[in-house]
């Protein structure tokens, strides 16, 4: 029987939740790295027992941890993230130039084929790669050196590169998303990049349809159709059917189209999930009801999924990297909240139950389906 491993990053440590394929009894391991912020941890598709974790602290800076046994034991890897060449400036919150400075790793994306290769999305926004299991890191400077970079500016959480999507069908093609710059695509393994934001409209920037400057919160793809992308923007849920060349809004009947995560069903590439949040200043669900919304039509028509989720007095948030799916049938869907709950659905979202209720605030959730 399969095993499900849920990797949870929180404000005060990492937790590993495991269950068999029934997904009804969970073993909770952790906290690992207690007291440290764990922005993200993720396993290698090529070797699921190889895990990488981003461990950071305002006091002690960045540490990268690596596990060879599925999270039972860990070892520290390299933590030297140095931008390539002379760094310029980006825009600060008040629109003035601000020097680039490394703060932390937001997202780790292991290669689809090589367990020793892993990408890191960092704040201030840049993309790094390690080809030696995280021991050394080299920036892919073509992104940060893009002509638009001096006009990028931070979102409320910092100027972070938070999403990395590797296209399984087109070697060398990858997408990243930056708050607040937008989505970028490379077709040459990260050497050169171009913004792919046509169709986005953001009222918070001087030109709402600008090529860059959009606060993209998350993008997602289904492995079987990597040319189709879904996006949760600061406001608006968007869709692209041409690998980011153009986007159209699919917010449809959502009660609010602000939110952070977006994800795709493991077996139904037109079934997508979001968690609507009331507004950019009210980071909690509308009406105090925690509802996941599912569209089976790739957007526009949405249904509220409420069974098992709190439907009164619930004022938690769900952050951008805190939703994931397993690959069992029916598909499992998982998300974590700022209140420390990790909810799981064994039936593609029809019903939910908490795996744990009282963790530190959840920053990220990843799921591994193990044979």
């Amino acid at each position: 029987m399969s095993t499900i491993r849920v990797l949870v990053g929180t404000r005060k440590g990492a937790f590993v939740l495991t269950a068999d394929g029934k997904r009804d009894r969970w073993d909770v391991s952790g906290p690992h790295f207690g007291g440290w912020e764990i922005y993200h941890l993720k396993g290698s598709p090529a070797d699921p027992n190889r895990l990488y974790a981003s461990q950071s602290s305002s006091w002690f800076g960045q540490v990268i941890q690596r596990s060879h046994d599925g999270g039972k034991t860990w070892e520290s890897a390299g933590n030297k993230f140095v931008y390539d060449g002379v760094t310029g400036t980006h825009l600060w919150y008040d629109g003035t130039p601000h020097p680039w400075g490394f703060a932390r790793v937001w997202h780790l994306e292991p290669s689809l084929t090589d367990p020793d290769t892993v990408y890191a999305g960092v704040e201030d926004a840049a993309l790094f790669r390690s080809a030696d299991g995280g021991q050394t890191w080299q920036e892919l400077p073509g992104l940060r050196n893009h002509a638009s970079a001096s006009f990028w500016q931070p979102g409320a959480g910092g100027m972070c590169l938070h999403t990395i999507l590797l296209d399984p069908s087109h070697p060398g093609r990858m997408f990243v998303a930056i708050s607040a710059a937008g989505t970028f695509r490379s077709d040459d393994d990260g050497k050169t990049w171009r913004p792919v934001n046509r169709g986005l409209q953001s009222e918070g920037i001087p030109d709402p349809k600008a090529e860059v400057g959009h606060c993209v919160h998350r993008i997602a793809m289904h492995r079987s159709r990597p040319g189709v992308l879904f996006m949760q923007k600061h406001w608006d849920v968007m869709r692209s059917d041409d690998a980011g060349e153009s986007w159209r809004e699919v917010s449809g009947n959502l009660p609010t189209d602000f939110g952070f995560p977006i994800d795709v069903h493991a077996h139904e590439p037109e079934t997508i999930y979001v968690v609507p949040i009331k507004s950019d200043s009210e980071h909690y669900p509308p009406e105090g009801k925690l509802r996941v919304y599912r569209s089976r039509t790739g957007g526009n028509e949405w249904e509220a999924l409420t069974k098992g989720l709190p439907q009164s007095h619930c004022y938690v948030n769900v952050l951008r990297d805190a939703m994931a799916v397993d690959t069992l049938d029916p598909c499992g869907v998982y998300f974590g909240t700022s209140g420390g709950q990790v909810y799981a659905s064994r039936d593609a979202g029809d019903s939910w139950a908490p795996i744990v209720r009282d963790l530190p605030a959840v920053v990220s959730v990843e799921v591994q389906t193990l044979p």
Partner: protein
Amino acid sequence: MIRVVLPAHLRTLAGVGGEVKLDVGGSVTLRAVLDALEASYPMLRGTIRDHVTQQRRPFLRFFACEQDLSHEPPDTPLPDAVVKGVEPFLVVGAMAGG
């Protein structure tokens, strides 16, 4: 031997239970002690000083013999009591909540 007291989280990261004892050759300065510490415990590189600038991380302080040495130049000799191992050199996390 130079005695170094680390904050709890760095003791965990370095896998040490208590004080760290270092053999520091030559002049015992702030820089020499931190160089020796990082040579013995490479996982601490970047957690006390910036990798490139070697600047102390802002939320860390260096104390010894009831003195704050945080703002001393890196080649400042440490107090004699630290050099003789009578007193420890303390790396302290700032009381910043969190």
